[in-house]
């Protein structure tokens, strides 16, 4: 291995061009004659809804897929990548949305993985560590090279991913939804790092569906819609309205919630404590009240107890101490069924794990709760398929779920349509209380808009809604009050419009605000 040059970039690229890229998957045209180019020293954002073909396009640049038609040029030279190894050799790196790290290995081992060692077959982790320290100093990316990856925070893991690409001498780096898992402050740090990288001559592709981030960091923005180019515009000309209409293909109306008409407290949570999956205490005394006709947004960085709280409320997790009351009825230690009967509906965070059964049909998934209800059975024993089909057809129509048929396995639907169906199922039971956990994560703008509208309608009918979300925009546009959870307790509650993003961001990072 040659001694590393002072600059981290081993092979400088000045431009990458992708021309007329076509990529098909069975039944889907993922990219339809897409053109995209990046130059050294710029951030080029790739914007689009989920399923618009952004990741697919970039995975072709990174050699994970091969295009069916079209060509890729690096500095004007045609290249063909058969695997990521080819792309890495050409100076291209990629930070994946789901981190590509091995949790049981150390930072240095993760970085050295797949690279030749200076000692032939024997690892040279000491040299790797030294080089990692140099890089982390040069790019202000602080990590411990002998820590195990499972010990690191999400922000630290992302730094390891960036270092991995830099260590391989990447000149151009693709970042696939890099901010999805970060706090607002961590996003600021990341953006500072990205700007530093650009000033060093790196070219960056920033894949995102978050408009404000795209506007904040990009020199140019390319929008994809349904696998096709919707256009490329300079970053300084990008406004929210322009970008949204490019993404959706039409204008999207902003939400206009009715004024709050909160009634009596329906859901009361007092001093709630519960253990997490690993036996540590995940909830350390949570107090929240949700009133009829009110949406309370629960903001927080993932892993601060949101999941456990939702599970306790749904009756899926044992409560250690504290109480949960629904309409004055104590439901702290009761079974799931009692919660459902008390009028609680639950839209779980992991819709494919907890909200639906992958291989069941759309219709079967509608009846996960109510298959034994008298209305849909003969004598309470035999399923009444006619009535079931009628009800399912009804819901699919009402909630405009796009599905080929009622018999289609739910796994074949898009994320947005699955979520609409789950919401339809839960709302059709006319709940008094709705727990909606990450209701629009991974859902396209059109469906998100629809789901938000439905939540507001539900609020108007007097349902008490607890909205758990990591998307601050969503929380801020829907909630009457915002509660921030940090390390298992509520660090502060603010009224709508009372706190800025920065203040909420600080609370999410554990800094108690004056409002709290």
């Amino acid at each position: 291995m040659p001694s590393t040059p002072p600059s981290t970039i081993q092979r400088r690229i000045t431009s990458v061009e992708m021309c007329d890229i076509v990529k098909r998957f069975p039944g889907v045209l993922a990219n339809d004659r897409v053109c995209f180019d990046v130059r050294a020293g710029e951030v080029h954002a790739l914007l689009g809804e989920n399923g618009a073909g952004k990741s697919t396009l970039m995975r072709q640049l990174y050699g994970m897929y091969q295009p069916d038609a079209g060509e890729i040029l690096i500095d004007g030279q045609r290249v063909e990548f058969h695997s990521p190894a080819d792309a890495i050799r050409s100076g291209i790196g990629m930070i994946h949305q789901h981190f590509m790290l091995v949790p049981t290995l150390t930072v240095a081992e993760n970085i050295a993985l797949g690279l030749p060692s200076s000692r032939g077959p024997v690892l040279d982790l000491d040299k790797v560590s030294a080089r990692v320290q140099e890089l982390s100093a040069a790019y202000r990316l602080k990590v411990e090279s002998d820590a195990y990856v499972w010990q690191l925070s999400v922000g630290e893991q992302q730094r390891v991913e960036i270092l991995k690409a830099l260590y391989r001498g990447a000149s151009f780096i693709i970042l696939d939804e890099p901010t999805a898992v970060l706090t607002p402050q961590e996003v600021d740090d990341l953006f500072a790092t990205l700007k530093h990288m650009v000033s060093e001559g790196h070219g960056l592709v920033f894949i995102s569906h978050k408009l404000n981030e795209v506007m904040a960091i990009s020199d140019r923005v390319t929008v994809l819609r349904d696998g096709c180019m919707a256009g490329t515009i300079p970053g300084r000309e990008a406004t929210r309205d322009i970008l949204v209409s490019m993404m959706v293909g039409r204008e999207v109306k902003p939400l206009a919630p009715q004024p709050l008409q909160a009634g009596a407290a329906r859901l009361k949570i007092e001093g709630l404590r519960a253990q997490g999956d690993r036996g540590t205490e995940a909830l350390r005394g949570v107090d929240i009240e949700v009133h009829a006709g009110e949406i309370v947004g629960l903001a927080g960085v993932s892993g601060n107890g949101q999941r456990e709280l939702a599970q306790c409320l749904a009756g899926l997790r044992k409560v250690t101490t504290g109480t949960i009351t629904i309409d004055g009825k104590d439901l702290t230690h009761t079974e799931l069924k009692a919660h459902i009967e008390a009028g609680l509906a639950y839209v779980p965070e992991e819709r494919m794990r907890d909200g639906a059964i992958r291989d069941f049909s759309v219709e079967e998934n509608v009846f996960l709760h109510d298959h034994a209800a008298p209305a849909y059975t003969h004598a309470g024993i035999f399923l009444d398929f006619r009535k079931m089909a009628a009800h399912a057809t009804d819901l699919v129509k009402q909630f405009s779920v796009k599905t080929p048929s009622l018999d289609t396995p739910i796994k074949n639907l898009s994320g947005g349509n699955i979520q609409k169906l789950i919401l339809a199922r839960e709302l059709s039971r006319k709940p008094k209380i709705l727990i909606a956990a990450q209701p629009t994560r991974g859902v396209d703008i059109g469906a998100s808009e629809y789901i938000h509208q439905r939540l507001l309608e539900q609020r108007a009918t007097g349902t008490a809604i607890l909205l758990i979300s990591e998307d601050l925009d969503e929380i801020r546009s829907l909630s009457d009050r915002i509660a921030v959870i940090y390390e298992g307790h509520i660090i502060g509650i603010v009224q709508r419009g009372e706190a800025t993003v920065e203040e909420i961001g600080l609370m999410m990072a554990g800094v108690s605000a004056t409002h709290g």
Binding site: P84, L105, N110, G114, L115
Partner: protein, 291 residues
Amino acid sequence: MSEIFSVTVLVGILASAIRLATPYLYAAIGESFAQTSGVVNLGVEGIMLVGAFAGFYVALFTGNLWLGLLAAVIAGILMGLLMSFISVTLRAEQGISGIGLFMFGLGLSSLLFKTTIGTVKTIVGFPPLKIPVLGDIPIPLAWWLLDKTTLGLKTKAVGQNPAAADSLGVSVLRNRYFNVCLGAALAGVAGASLSLSLVNLFQENLTAGMGFIAVALVYFGGWRPLGILAGALLFSTVNAIQLWVQVLGIGIPADIAVMLPYLLTIVALAVTANRARQPAALNKPFERGEN
């Protein structure tokens, strides 16, 4: 009862234990490579049988034990290629493919034995003392390979998060083929250690479940070479005790004594069931872009 505690008997038990540990050790270390890369190979038993036969056949007709050992290794690798093709390339369910491989190995070795040798014959095998020395080699070697080399790092990564390894240009396919075949080669050696050293003969179903115990030992040892060594010694000691119990005719029915190692397998696995170190992608075929 007292004669079992006499010095001669205890030394005897210990010596047989170390000798008997050899096949377990080779087979289990081999299996641990396959599993570390994410492939459960339940066909170890079948590979051992084919290795034992191939080694014995070649040694019997050439008179050269080393040629026999080489034949066992080659037979093992061929079986490993078959297993990799089915479970890695075709992405078949690993447990079922492994059972299939076991039955194939059992049938093939019996058939070839009947058509070529026919009756039980014995040979002069490797002197037993040679094996313990040889038996010590795979442990440090396996540890060194897994923890100190780029190959070991790739193997662990492929078994824990194949998508991550793939994204860095490590070929998951090639790595799994290599580790399954390495494991199968060692299973072949394990088989040959029976037919060329421990019992010096071949008969139908010679291994009688040792290959399955070897798979259990990998779980028992927590996928670490030293843990596997400890497990192999424990099982071979129990095996040795049951042999001596039969020889000495102590008042325990032979059937019960023979049952001991198998009973211990169940107990040990129930007690040590610690899946914390299990390779996260164990038993999961890899396909790019599925996440």
